[in-house]
Amino acid sequence: MTRLLSSALALSKRLLNLIFSFFYSIGEIVDFFLKCVKYFITEKFYFNIFLKQFIKIGFNSLPVVGLTSIFTGMVLALQSYTGFSRFSAESAIPNVVVLSITRELAPVLAGLMVAGRSGAAIAAEIGTMKVTEQIDALKTLSTNPFNYLIIPRILAGIISLPILVIVGDIIGVLGGYLICVNLLNFNPTVYLQNTYNFVQFLDVFSGLVKASVFGFLITFMGCYHGFNANGGAQGVGQSTTYSVVSSSILILLMNYIITSFFFRL
């Protein structure tokens, strides 16, 4: 009886610790975010660093996003054909491709790819700077690390992701077009006409809103985990893992929330 009681106590203690550390982490993340906002408003903005990061996060991710989009568009066209041909609705394929790509697949897949590519790189770079005292050195050189390291990266993420998604939208639709025209014998003009007539502003816009939010999540989580790295190489590795995992999960969660918001419009 006593053993049962003590193990129940130990279990509840662990559970409480878990809940406490969860809320503690939430508090730290909120504090980090508020500091970003505060220093963005009140202190110097490093435009050059922003430009560098814009190229790193946005332009350098183009090949990855482009490849992901084109293959997704191609697969989508093939799979839709398999389904729609069973009830002679092949003509709806351009509509399904453009809708799925713009509303859903381009932003989510671009987000996940950039999280793996740039989010991890941000966490590793800032984490290394933290454990090698480079961030402390910045502080003693009258440079606020939030303004120098964090804010330019977050802004670059927020702005570059929608641009990547626009490119992804075009390439994804092109992928569907290539399959439908070359493999499934669709009329090219009719395909493009159907796509153009069907797509609405809100379809593209909702995808771009998602992309902006994902860009924020990826860079913010990368910066946050990198900034809180400790304990040498192992700590940097851990911060990279946390960054990719947390931003990927948040992308999927926010995707649902934003989709349901636009669903009501």
């Binding site: 700077m129 090698t132 005292e133 402390d136 050195a137 003693t140 050189l141 009258s142 606020n144």
Partner: protein, 237 residues
């Protein structure tokens, strides 16, 4: 007449259950060179990080000139406060994504770059190189240049000779000695290297179990009767 620059009063700092600094008291005097020695993990670096404001202490106070209890400074005040220090970090802490010119740009006033490179014994050709292209000794020199470029009120040297071979370590010690003597700058050096202590320290503080166990003139260090410190010095030299 010695004038107090930094006053550390009953400062305590713990990490989880481990007490690192235990109601520590220490005065740092203007234009003097103080070396803090002690075994690994004795809290030397933690103490200097608390003095600079990079770490908050749990209890006590640190006064700097007219500033009282630096723990209470606002973020902006803390930023200004930190700029009074020039720090040579243990691993130099040069920003590895920037070349040496850009690294020094963070601190330099116009036209002083050439002069400062001469002072630390570096050629101008290194300005376009990246930290990873330099030897550890050169990185230390650049770190030192960056620390003194902004004309700090206090110079902090965290293990300036760690990771260097004895010849380069001797060169760095001599370089620091010349700079400290010439500029008459208040200096705090955290070190394991007794050569550094003999070379340029005016005063020495021996840290053990979170308190200063011995404090005195550097030239009287060998006359000390503190058994822990004698053991420490003998173990090192």
């Amino acid at each position: 007449m010695r004038k107090k620059k930094i006053i550390v009063k009953n400062v305590s700092k713990s990490f989880k259950n481990k007490v690192v600094l235990n109601k520590l008291n220490l005065d740092v005097y203007e234009s003097e060179s103080l070396s803090i020695i002690g075994e690994s993990g004795s809290g030397k670096s933690i103490l200097t990080r608390c003095i600079v404001g990079l770490l908050k202490y749990d209890d006590g106070s640190i006064d700097f000139g007219k500033l009282n209890n630096i723990n209470t400074l606002s973020d902006k005040e803390k930023m200004n406060y930190m700029s009074k220090f020039g720090i040579l970090f243990q691993n130099s802490a040069l920003l590895d994504s920037l070349n040496i010119r850009e690294n020094l740009k963070f601190a330099y006033k116009k036209n002083s770059l050439k002069k400062i490179l001469n002072e630390v014994g570096l050629p101008q050709s290194i300005l376009e190189k990246y930290p990873s292209e330099l030897s550890v000794g050169m990185q230390k020199r650049v770190g030192l240049a960056r620390a003194i470029l902004k004309k700090p009120e206090v110079l902090i040297l965290d293990e300036p000779t760690t990771g260097l071979d004895p010849i380069i370590a001797r060169q760095i010690n001599l370089l620091i000695k010349n700079l400290v003597r010439k500029k008459k700058i208040t200096t705090i050096t955290v070190t394991h290297d007794m050569e550094s202590v003999y070379e340029f320290a005016d005063y020495v503080a021996f840290l053990k179990n979170g308190i200063i166990e011995w404090y005195g003139k550097a030239r009287k260090i060998n006359q000390s009767k503190n058994s822990s410190m004698i053991k420490f010095i003998k173990g090192i030299t």
